[in-house]
């Protein structure tokens, strides 16, 4: 230790010696690297191999130039596993976080700083803080009506145009697209690549959602396979939640494992528990529509068509039989009518003939009374002149005329000798 004596009993220290003294006194007071828990609000955080954190009293303001600041640091060796543990729990140290560190006072002479070397972080406390912040975010979104905003968006009944926010080649991406690919439906997937973990993920996810919403798709699917809480932390990001709520297109999520439920899931129109389930859900929507609007009608048309053909065939066959029987019946009726008419005609004709025969017989009998042969046989004669005319009066002849007298068995010729009138 480099010191000097001023001569008045007071020791004068060189700078290095002063820091050595300071260190010695601190270590004698607290013990070498004696650990202390210190809680405060992170004012600044900077990582470059080592982690540097400015810790202030919670609630103090930066404008207060007299507020105490603890320059804490965590060297690379202890920081690496600590960082890994924090990341696994979804925690990234950020300004504003209230955090408790276990560490010891560390005098760093090269920069003239009395700092605090961190050896442990109260992760449980941080997790509680993260959970509290998450609940506060959910409360804010709820009070603003944003938890339900995207759920009111109408989804196309056939969501075939799928906007996909994912990281190609990842398990989640493959699980989701595999469901669509093997469905036999013509899904048209428009992929917007996005990181789905890490610091830059929220900004990329938001940009992807906004781009797809602007482009116009039936549904936007936000897909990410399982991972640690840290991996999935971007889906608890308030900016992502608000982007989903703002989207005029339904946003569906398939994020992580069965037990994971992010704020994005809560804000989304539909939440599936895994990328595979989200793919199944989309396929189910299309299949439901297909069943109702294509397969069902096709089935009914097949049945109805067969019924119409069967009924029409039966109708024509029945009409054919009816016509044959009707015509036969009609012809038989006509035949019966003709037969009946014919019988009547025969009977009537016979009656007429018989009547005529009877009349003829009667006339014949009457005529026979006037038969001249019968008169001639009784002794009557017929006298005719030479010209054949019958002599009915003496005036019909003159004396000397030749006459023919017909009797029953012949005739004689005579001459008129005289004429005498009847007395």
């Amino acid at each position: 230790m480099e010191t000097d004596d001023r001569g008045d009993g007071e020791t004068v220290y060189e700078v290095g010696a002063f820091y050595e003294l300071l260190t010695e006194r601190l270590e004698s007071a607290y013990g070498r690297r004696h650990p202390h828990w210190v809680r405060g609000e992170i004012a600044k955080v900077y990582e470059k191999g080592h982690m540097y954190i400015d810790l202030v009293d919670a609630g103090s303001t930066a404008s207060d130039t007299r507020r105490p600041v603890l320059n804490a640091h965590c060297w690379g060796t202890p920081w690496a596993p600590m960082k890994k543990k924090l990341a696994a729990d979804g925690i990234a140290l950020r300004p504003g976080m209230i955090v408790s560190f276990l560490g010891y006072v560390d005098v760093y002479a090269p920069q003239g700083k009395i700092g605090f070397s961190i050896s442990q972080i109260d992760v449980e406390g941080l997790l509680g803080d993260v959970a509290r912040r998450r609940q506060e975010l959910i409360g804010r979104l709820q009070s603003e009506g944003l938890l339900e905003a995207n759920k009111t968006v109408t989804v196309s009944p056939v969501p075939l145009r799928v906007g996909l926010v994912a990281s190609p080649g990842t398990e989640g991406y493959n699980d989701f697209t595999g469901q669509l690919l093997h469905s036999n439906f013509g899904f048209d997937v428009l992929l917007v690549r996005s990181a789905v973990q890490g610091e830059g993920a929220p900004a990329q996810i938001i940009a992807a959602i906004e781009a797809l919403d602007e482009h116009g798709v039936d549904v936007i699917c936000l897909v990410r396979g399982g991972g640690s809480k840290g991996d999935l932390a971007c889906f608890d990001d308030e900016r992502v939640a608000r982007a989903i709520a703002r989207s005029s297109t339904a946003v569906m999520t398939g994020i992580g494992h069965t037990g994971d439920e992010s704020v994005a899931d809560l804000v989304a129109h539909t939440r599936a528990i895994t990328p595979t389930k989200l793919g199944e859900h989309l396929v189910g929507l299309v299949d439901t529509w297909y069943q109702r609007n294509v397969k069902g009608p096709a089935r009914r048309i097949v049945v109805a068509t067969q019924e119409i053909v069967d009924e029409s065939t039966e109708y024509v066959a029945e009409r054919r039989r009816t016509m044959i029987f009707a015509v036969r019946d009609r012809l038989r009726a006509e035949q019966r009518h003709l037969a009946s008419t014919r019988g009547s005609l025969v009977m009537h004709s016979r009656h007429v003939v018989n009547s005529a025969a009877q009349l003829l017989a009667s006339r014949r009998q009457l005529l026979s009374a006037y038969d001249p042969t019968r008169r001639l046989a009784q002794g009557w004669s017929v006298t005719t002149r030479s010209d054949g005319t019958v002599v009915r009066s003496i005036d019909d002849v003159d004396v000397g005329d030749g006459l023919r007298i017909r009797v029953s068995d012949g005739s004689v010729r005579t001459t008129v000798d005289e004429k005498n009138g009847a007395t």
């Binding site: 097949v302 029409s312 065939t313 024509v316 009409r319 009816t322 015509v327 019946d329 009609r330």
Partner: protein, 70 residues
């Protein structure tokens, strides 16, 4: 026969002819004409039915495949 007449129109005419037989309105004079007309209609309907059945036989399997989701 009116070739442009539809199935319903032709069937209605056929029904009317059958009804005239049922009502005893057909005389011997118009019996042949009505029978001839009815036969022509029935043959026309059967021809249409055959054509329709052929088309149905062709299309039904395709619809069935859709209905059964093949």
């Amino acid at each position: 026969m009116n070739e442009t007449a539809g199935w319903t129109e032709s069937a209605a005419e056929l029904d009317a002819i059958v009804a005239s037989f049922d009502e005893g309105e057909v005389t011997v004079d118009d019996l042949f004409a009505k029978l001839e007309r009815a036969t022509a209609i029935i043959e026309s309907l059967e021809a249409r039915l055959d054509a329709t059945r052929a088309k149905v036989d062709e299309l039904a399997p395709r619809l069935t495949r859709i209905a059964e989701g093949e």
